[in-house]
Subunit: 141 residues, 3 copies
């Protein structure tokens, strides 16, 4: 049983955003899968997907501040600078954080830990919407 | 052919631990899969899974020291600090290293390189056990 | 429908290399898959796979320079140093960047963003060839 769909995410501010509910709402067919995987894949090189704490928003703020510190703008060794100071750091953050998540499905739902949530990490200052490819595969209930 | 199981890992000291054998021993059904994938997924936001060198233990020590240097405790920009100095660094390390591994299966075994092993990376000083979801999918032999 | 093959990549210079076309050319059977996944897995602990910008080569140069800055050679805390100054940094970069990519397949092709390409990241100064395991799974057209 294969299901594939593209989801358009509306533009988000630079930073780390919790999107678990937004994704699950768009995957009604997942309820038919007893055991399987859901892949969320972002079709961009300056925004990322990761998993982390779903409760305290200061975790998301600290992540944004940490990556800004260790992947700085205007590093003296950047040659790719004509799209703005936030562009090359965005590419590097994307390589570190990753472009896709593979989530186990059990009994029709993501099988995540109690504290885990899906983050969309927007690395650009003024990005447009972002396209996701979501692919589900599994055994029907 | 889908197989899904949850594995409880006993508590481990802070650091990088080789767990390939511990995982394989708990997956006797993998021997029936000719071609497929095994996913190991950790249901936590302060411990990670990664692959690296399976021979020299100094590699694991150097990884722990490197991540402690570049993801420091008590960074001045952390706001999420009430669960201890090791908490926010643990979340950041988890985002960098990742929460899951997807391993190719060939002829009933993980198809890894000769030097590759599965690491559980424990980022907290005094963590409890950790829960893994292991999902296998493939073509029967 | 499962397809698995091993691909030998010829030796590459240290740095980030765009290999999307090289991979696609070796996967003629992908054209038969309507919906699915392709996994590219590298069987080594000192070279990585990641996705990023497929157009401007300065992005690849900046990535190499950034990772050399933040994963330095001869860090005072390295104990694993007998294979050369580029060895331990190579292991760390591999943990950060990752050993595998899971790409969605749609209508017989990788379903990537317009600007996304597959990178092989060679972290050693004088590496030999690299072995990839490529596994395809999906629904036939």
């Amino acid at each position: 049983m294969w299901i594939q769909t593209e989801i358009s995410m509306p533009p988000k501010a630079r930073g780390f955003h919790l999107i678990t509910d937004e994704i699950e709402r768009q995957l009604p067919d997942m309820s038919a899968i007893a055991v399987g995987w859901a892949q969320i894949f972002i079709k961009h090189t300056s925004a990322s997907l990761t998993l982390n704490e779903n409760a305290d928003p200061t975790v998301r703020g600290d992540l944004e501040r940490h990556f800004n510190q260790y992947v700085p703008e205007r590093a003296p060794y950047y040659q790719h600078d004509y799209e703005g100071d936030d562009d090359m750091p965005a590419h590097i953050k994307n390589c570190i954080l990753g472009s896709s998540l593979m989530l186990p499905i059990s009994k029709g739902r993501f099988n995540l830990g109690v504290w885990q949530g899906v983050y969309l990490c927007e690395h650009r200052n003024r990005a447009g919407g972002r396209q996701l490819v979501v692919t589900l595969n599994g055994e029907a209930m």
